[in-house]
């Protein structure tokens, strides 16, 4: 037997995490064993606390310890714009820009029949509930331009158009600092489609 039982179990559990292979799991486990008891206790309790306290916000389906979440209950946010994203990490990415002042809605995934995810598995009912708020004038779809992202965007656009709210999606095209010459065809086609008047 390579490891004694408790160590083997720790490595096994760590390996279940995304992006962690056997080698990394082993390294993490050895690192943890070298640390002070206080650190390990705090790590363990932070795992438990996060799991027990973080819930989905009943309005926007984002992760939060509060319900409604910090963003939904923030009076300073613009209630007229709602940005729809796939995952909580997309909210973080957009918040980092400091540009967007509206509210969010998190779908918690994308349509993908191969993964058993249809529209019913996403937080679409909650989205429709949010949209009953007549203050919302614009819905921005900020969803990755992948196959599944496109399918979800198409689905949502068909669903939301009849509601009569202004429906937009974020632009796709050349990354800042890149070069036309080195852009691939599809990106260029998208960039041309999404061109806008110079002001």
């Amino acid at each position: 037997m390579l490891y004694s039982k408790p160590l083997a179990r720790l490595i096994e559990e760590l390996q279940r995490l995304p992006g962690i292979g056997p080698k990394s799991a082993q390294r993490l486990a050895f690192h943890i064993l070298k640390q002070e008891d206080a650190f390990v206790k705090s790590l363990a309790s932070s795992l438990l606390d996060a799991k027990s306290q973080i819930r989905l916000c009943s309005r926007c389906a984002n992760l939060s310890a509060q319900d409604p979440c910090e963003l939904c209950s923030d009076e300073k946010r613009d209630p007229s714009v709602l940005c729809v994203v796939a995952e909580p990490r997309d909210v973080i990415a957009l918040e980092r820009t400091g540009e967007f002042k509206g509210r969010y809605h998190v779908l918690q995934g994308l349509i993908s029949p191969l993964d058993g995810i249809g529209p019913e598995q996403l937080k679409i009912k909650e989205l429709l509930l949010q949209l009953q708020d007549s203050a919302i004038k614009e819905v921005i779809l900020a969803i990755n331009p992948t196959i599944e992202g496109e399918a979800t965007t198409l689905y949502l656009s068909r669903l939301l158009k009849p509601i009569g709210v202004l429906l937009t999606r974020i632009a796709f095209g050349l990354p800042i600092g890149s070069d036309l010459e080195f852009a691939d065809e599809l990106t260029l086609i998208r960039a041309l489609e999404g061109r806008r008047e110079v002001r």
């Binding site: 349509i111 191969l114 249809g118 196959i147 599944e148 198409l154 691939d184 065809e185 599809l186």
Partner: protein, 375 residues
Amino acid sequence: MRLKRLELLDFRNYPRLELEFEGKREIFLGDNAQGKSNLLEAIAILARGRSPFLSRDDGLIRWDRPQAIIRSLFEKEEGEISIDLLFQKGGKRSIKVNGFYQKRVSDLLGRVSTVLFTCGDIGMVKGPPASRRAFVDEVLLQLPGGYSRLLHPYEKILAQRNQLLRLQAAPGELEVWDIQLAKYAASIEEKRLSFVREIAPLARKHHFLITDGKEDLEVRWEPSFGLEGDPLLWSSSFLEQVRERREKDLARGSTSIGPHRDDLRLILDGKDSHSFASQGQQRSIVLSLKLAELDVLTERIGEAPLLLLDDVLAELDIKRQNKLLESIGEEIQTFVTTTHLSDFTAGWIQGAEIFAIEQGKAIPFRGNFSASREG
């Protein structure tokens, strides 16, 4: 273009191999299962960024090793170019051109090109449509222009749609996939059709020469759905057709039209070769297609590609062997694998470099070949 140097590290059965090529005719000589074809595969990978035989890179890495490396130096009209590829277990790969890292496989395409002709190709005439589609896709995947960025998403959308069909989804749920399917299908057809239009007259010409004017070869792309009028309208017309077939597709549990159902028709004297071609005719047809592929790549890349012949000489009779070797222009660097030298004409073997391949080693082979035709 010409390959000057090839270096392999833990690639397939080669722990370490360095080869220098001086001329334009290279022969890898050896018994079966010694690694001759692996050398041609390595060269083919340099043009494609991926194996023409394997969909997963792991098979390229020598048993029990973490990674495989292919390093190369080519001589082109515009100067020398080095291409280095690294394949890691689990599918990670790095591409370096002239010492600089490239982000995507598509950044590699169009730098060097190869025409690979294996004995398995001859089966395409009588094989399933997939084997003939693979011929067309293989060439397009090697050319710059983002074909893989069309084909791979298409396959993914198709898999998602087929899953919905198997789950007996409501026809309305298919809509978001059908719209995307149509967009990619139209672009794929455009590329395939323009390639087949280019290759068809060239293949006819080669076939005419190989058969001494006795047979007429017509090469035609047969899409599985109606494609009329302006290519700009193909996407919407495909969408209409795929919508009409939803009920049918739900019943059969798979998508009945699209680029994955097309065929390349090879018509000999007005009849489909699929049902009647003899062994000899099949060989002539595939030989004509490969020579035409060589012409198209020369035209599109602006320089003659490398020709990789994997055990095909033995498959061809003397007459077709000679036709093939004759049609290879002086400017085309040719790599041939063979189990014995008697396959070659004395004239061709003069000036060829021969490497004896044995269990992952290559030994430059020197001797008197002038009598090899008789021996």
